[in-house]
Amino acid sequence: MHVPGRDRPDEDACLTHPKVECPRWDEADRLRALKQYGVLDTTPEASFDDLANLAARICETTMAAVSLVDAERQWFKAEIGLGARETPRPLSFCAHAMLADDAMIVKDALLDPRFADNALVTGAPHIRFYAGHPLKTPDGVSLGALCVLDEKPRPEGLTELQAMALKTLAEQVMTQLELRRALLERDRSQHIARLAMEASAYVGAWDWDITQNLVVADERFARMYGVDAAAAQNGAPIEVFTASVHPDDVARVHDEIERAKSGEGIFVSEYRLTSNGVVRWVLARGQVYFDRAGEAVRLPGIAVDITERKQIETDLAETARALSESETRFRVLADAMPQMVWSTLPDGFHDYYNARWYEFTGVPAGSTDGEGWNDMFHADDQQRAWGIWRHSLETGEPYEIEYRLKHHSGVYRWTLGRAVAVRDEQGEITRWFGTLTDIDELKKLEQGRELVSQELSHRIKNIFAVITALVALSARQYPEAKAFSASLRTRIAALARAHEFVRPHTETSKTTIGATTLHSFLSDLFKAYADETGTPRVRIDGDDAVFDDQAATSVALLFHELATNAAKYGALSEKGGLVDLSTARDEDRFVLTWTESGGPTVQGEPSRTGFGSSLATLSVQGQLGGRLEREWRAEGLKVIVDLPATALSRRRAANAVGN
């Protein structure tokens, strides 16, 4: 679409995009303006990289660029995720965006006839979404655009906040470019001034006889000060000359002359002259001569016109002010966020906090810069926070922590802190941006829920005790039910134990019961079968596992029945008898092997199956979805329980699939 050498830029874009007002400048003006900034083909700079990075982050895109459109190419001063320094101009989206007054948004490049065939769309980097804000000089000439891009189309475009951020950041890019141009011009002008001085192109020279108060000056000096040339040649009182000093500078110049006369000897002063309504800046430089008594008697010197240099300095100050204004806008944006926002240098030195931080903490502005922030944490959290932060600083990994932050009311509130590193093209960290979110209410709810859960658990366990007592009391009237009552009560007891291991635990409740794994639960369950020295007779080894409430009743009943049976008829019915229980995780299976030894010789499979055995089989094959096999070996019973690995915590497995 671009024909090299054409004078007016992208007329096609004007035709296909009727909203675009065709520019008042032509391509030659534009290229001249671009050249003045002296930015093309310079090395990457953090200040531009940061802006591109921030644009991508705020607009939530994978790519961003500061693109400057040259005659035949677009060149990137900064680029995130594009992986190129330049592309041919005909492929440039920004060459279109720069013609608009406001941001150009391409929600899906494949649906836009201007870009559907573009090689950057059909091939890498596969651009689908594009938003670019023009970069315009103070004269309204477009140099290119600040743009954000993504491989995914975005039918909803940018949010209002994102569009505003893109505009603000584009202005900041332009301010940075202006600063660069002003500095270049100052350097150039200082160079010229030096050349001029060498060629004695000074304004003029004077010689002041202080004793007689007569200033003799050359013609150029006299004209500058609005004094008649002939009078100046003959000598005139200094007041004739100082009369043309700008009223705002008179007192200062007078003081500077007096200081030179009273001992300093050197007179150097920059001041304005007004003559014929024109204001000019001069730099005057002279040397005082003293008599033997130490009285100042003579002050000769020269004066140079520095009006042009002063103008550039004023421009520079203006640019610096604009820069800080643009930064102010970023701060307004950050201050509008509901969270506290902070930023540090790559070494972790805190140099920025938004208004929300000062509002929350109530500390004076600037008082928490550097390492001052550490005092804002609860003493118990400081060491932990430092450790995690140092780790992030060393590795560049994202920072995330919950700690108590001192509120201005004096109480500590739970806060969620997060931070990410901003990196330049070389992958070096240039800055850390972080946020803090007040989660105190959330924490209180969590703690309240924990109390309710503990209370509920106490009551449930108490109900198990009451039911057991009720069964025992009921059976007392019927001696024939004694055995039945006893076995029922031990089964209930096994369920009660399982309950403690599977209720939802938090950090605090966990510490009161210790580990909640399968092995710790089984060890607890088999404690009743230990020998007289307290040594366990059911020895557990192999892979441990966690289990949830859905599996708990089945696991408890299964092993209760196996152990009860072993105590009645098997290995545990004789002194010296043992059971080895091994648990093994084998890919998607979890296999438990119960091996009895040292008990009475087994006579083969019993002819009759008791309820306990049925209960065990039911638990495994019904509830847990596994297989239970019994081998009636002469040396002792062997039971193999083969479960799907997910059977012990089905809820967790279901969640994992859901994710």
Partner: protein, 135 residues
């Protein structure tokens, strides 16, 4: 070996069953207290060898302090019996240990025997299964 035992438990059914079990074993049950205050009164009026103390009583979770007081100041051997043994995981000074509820006759019998042997200074080589000892 028979002993004078006090049951400190606020669940009537649990206390009643425990009383039967202890009486079957030949012990004398001096009474059942549902609050810490009632327990102190009973201990002052009677000569008590052993107290079986629940942690949650009618007047709140007062069992822990009560057990410590009975054991350290009133010369009573103390065994906790609770559905929530985690509450005394770290032990209670002056008391023997904790038995987890629900439990059975066998566990009660061995735990009580163990406590009484210790009270009389008899050698005991092992802790009965189901009884979690302190210290």
């Amino acid at each position: 070996m028979t002993a004078r035992i006090l049951i400190i438990e606020d669940e009537t059914l649990v206390a009643m069953e425990l009383r039967f079990v202890l009486e079957d074993l030949g012990h004398e049950v001096l009474g059942v207290a549902a609050t810490a205050k009632a327990a102190r009164d009973l201990v002052r009026e009677n000569d008590v060898d052993l107290a079986l103390v629940d942690i949650h009583l009618s007047d709140g979770p007062t069992g822990i302090n009560l057990g410590r007081e009975l054991g350290q100041e009133m010369g009573v051997s103390v065994l906790f019996m609770t559905a929530n043994p985690g509450m005394v995981r770290d032990g209670v000074a002056g008391t023997i240990g904790v038995l987890s509820k629900p439990t059975d006759e066998q566990a009660v019998q061995t735990a009580v025997d163990y406590a009484l042997r210790r009270r009389q200074g008899q050698p005991v080589d092992y802790a009965p299964p189901g009884l979690q000892l302190f210290g």
